[in-house]
């Protein structure tokens, strides 16, 4: 295991110490460093909380900030935070307008967020939930509720965060988050494994010349394992699956996220985006927003994912709004 760490058991907590040292814009609730909240709670605003396992930076906590989220419960590497932690985050960020949970479709997270919502309800805090399930590879059409949540949750955060910043109600913010969720699809491809610090060896093995299309961000099995193909062919296959999911017409517009899983150089992500752009051009679909970089990683896994949100006017406008967190800045041109 080639990692900069001290005792693997302290991995998450020492990372958090570094984060609090570096970024006074975030702090923590209930004396628990794993209950990360904005230092700048906005009175009267609908709160948005997320949470999930560590090992995916900047996901999840990196999106806590202006125009995005208000809090994030932080779990161990690839492990759900506790319902108690989610509940503490909820209590801290609630401003009387209710709290929206946005997180990925993993059973550990669901069960804990459900329990946190129950606890919050006992305090009279209104909670709604939107569960990201953008990973096309993780289940077939018709069984979308079984799909995992991956990098596409970024667009759900972005749209919902902007809506909450505009002062919309919990119902409205939840409606918008849900629309962003329903219109977002992601396909991933992995080239190498990650290593969970407390485990110390690769989560899975993959040949020196192989890729796995559709692999999950914890190493969940994908759709096909084949020889590494040229970048354009990889994108063609991924985009074909994304296009097949929604009815894209000439003149439609999209937001695109080309996300690195951790070990893949930024140069390569731009080579992938070049082809994504060509394919969208061929369909006369306009790229209104694009982000390229590391947005939802899997430690040092080499690989990438492509997320596409099929925009309508409302999502276009909200995704374009400014945002500022310690890990993500958006300053509209």
């Amino acid at each position: 295991m080639k990692k900069f760490l001290n005792d693997p058991v302290d991995f998450v907590d020492e990372m958090l110490e570094g984060i609090y040292r570096a970024h006074p814009q975030v702090t923590y609730a209930a004396g628990d460093k794993r209950c990360l909240v904005t230092a700048n709670v906005k009175p009267g605003k609908v709160g948005i909380a997320t949470g999930g396992g560590s090992g995916h930076l900047p996901l999840f906590l990196g999106y806590v900030g202006d125009g995005m989220l208000d809090g994030a419960a932080v779990g161990g590497v690839f492990q759900s935070p506790s319902a108690e932690q989610m509940y503490q985050v909820t209590k801290h960020i609630d401003q009387g307008a209710g709290v929206l949970y946005i997180y990925g479709n993993y059973s550990g997270d669901i069960i804990n967020f459900d329990m946190a919502a129950e606890l919050a309800d006992l305090d009279g805090i209104q909670v709604k939930q939107v569960v990201g399930n953008d990973d096309v590879a993780s289940s077939v059409v018709g069984e979308e509720h079984k799909r995992r949540g991956v990098a596409g949750i970024f667009f759900v955060y972005k749209a919902a965060g902007a809506a909450a910043a505009e002062g919309l109600s919990l119902d409205e913010v939840a409606r918008i988050a849900d629309k962003a969720r329903l219109r977002t699809r992601t396909m991933g491809v992995a080239l190498s494994s990650c290593v969970v610090p407390e485990i110390g060896h690769a989560t899975f093995s993959i040949g020196e010349d192989e890729m796995e299309i559709g692999m999950g961000i914890h190493g969940e099995p994908g759709i096909s394992r084949t020889k590494l193909a040229p970048a354009d062919a990889v994108v063609d296959e991924m985009m074909a699956r994304i296009f097949a999911e929604q009815d894209y017409k000439a003149g439609d517009s999209v937001a695109v996220l080309v996300n690195g899983l951790g070990g893949t150089p930024l140069e390569e992500l731009y080579i992938l985006f070049r082809r994504v752009g060509q394919l969208l051009d061929e369909r006369s679909v306009t790229v209104k927003h694009v982000w390229i970089g590391e947005f939802a990683t899997s430690m040092e896994m080499a690989g990438a994912s492509i997320s596409v949100t099929h925009l309508d006017e409302e999502l276009d406008r909200l995704i374009g709004k400014p945002a500022g967190t310690p890990f993500f800045q958006h300053v509209p041109a």
């Binding site: 779990g75 690839f78 492990q79 759900s80 935070p81 506790s82 319902a83 108690e84 932690q85 993993y106 059973s107 550990g108 069960i111 804990n112 459900d114 329990m115 993780s138 079984k146 995992r148 485990i199 999950g216 914890h218 969940e220 099995p221």
Partner: protein, 212 residues
């Protein structure tokens, strides 16, 4: 024993703690086949924490309060799927036996019915989905029948355990629908479900405890 008292309950959690400490590696390996290998870690962690918490609280708190403490402690100690599901189970069981001085067959049936229902509600799984529910359901049903026909606790638990073991065996034929295993789809056929295995461990240890 005919019924489980508050002081028995504290010792029962000790027995569960010892059990999951022994079965830690086995559960890690079992969860590792079509999961993320954390089940042995989370179960040993959460039962160790619960056993300490109920011992610290003491028998004076009464059965319902001890179960609530166990559930709340487990939820904090191991927020994995199974950690939170079992925590939920104990919290619901606590409510179901509110006021009971001891758990006879009727109270034990109420306990496991609430335990099952809590987990079913929280996890939204159905019987046949290859989860812990597949053993909790026969456990609850068998105990309810035993209570209705007035069977003594030890006999009721022996029947429930036998039903659970049979049900565990039956999970081998199922395709996982929930949690990390679901991603492996058909590859899960032939393997017994890890969570259902935990369910059998729980009832078996309870049977042995009550028989002693």
């Amino acid at each position: 024993m005919d019924a489980i008292t508050a002081s028995d309950l504290i010792r029962l959690f000790d027995a569960w703690k010892a059990l999951f400490s022994v079965e830690r590696e086995f559960l890690i390996a079992l969860d590792g086949k079509v999961g993320d290998s954390d089940l042995g870690i989370t179960m040993s962690k959460s039962f160790a924490a619960a056993a300490e918490a109920v011992a610290a609280e003491g028998e004076g708190a009464g059965i319902a309060k001890l179960l609530r403490t166990a559930g709340a402690t487990m939820a904090r100690a191991a927020p994995s799927t199974m950690g939170t599901l079992t925590a939920t189970g104990f919290l619901r069981a606590s409510k179901a036996v509110e006021g009971a001085e001891a758990l006879g067959t009727a109270e034990t049936a109420a306990f496991w019915t609430a335990f099952r229902d809590g987990i079913a509600e929280r996890g939204k799984a159905r019987v046949g989905d290859k989860t812990i529910l597949d053993v909790l359901d026969p456990i609850a049903r068998t105990l309810a029948d035993a209570a209705a026909s007035g069977k003594p606790l030890a006999e009721a638990l022996a029947q429930a355990t036998a039903a659970a073991e049979e049900a565990l065996e039956a999970t081998k034929t199922m395709v996982a629908q929930h949690g990390k295993a679901a991603a492996f789809r058909e590859k899960t056929v032939g393997l017994q479900d890890a969570g259902a295995t935990v369910g059998v461990f729980l009832i078996r240890a309870l049977r042995d405890f009550a028989a002693a």
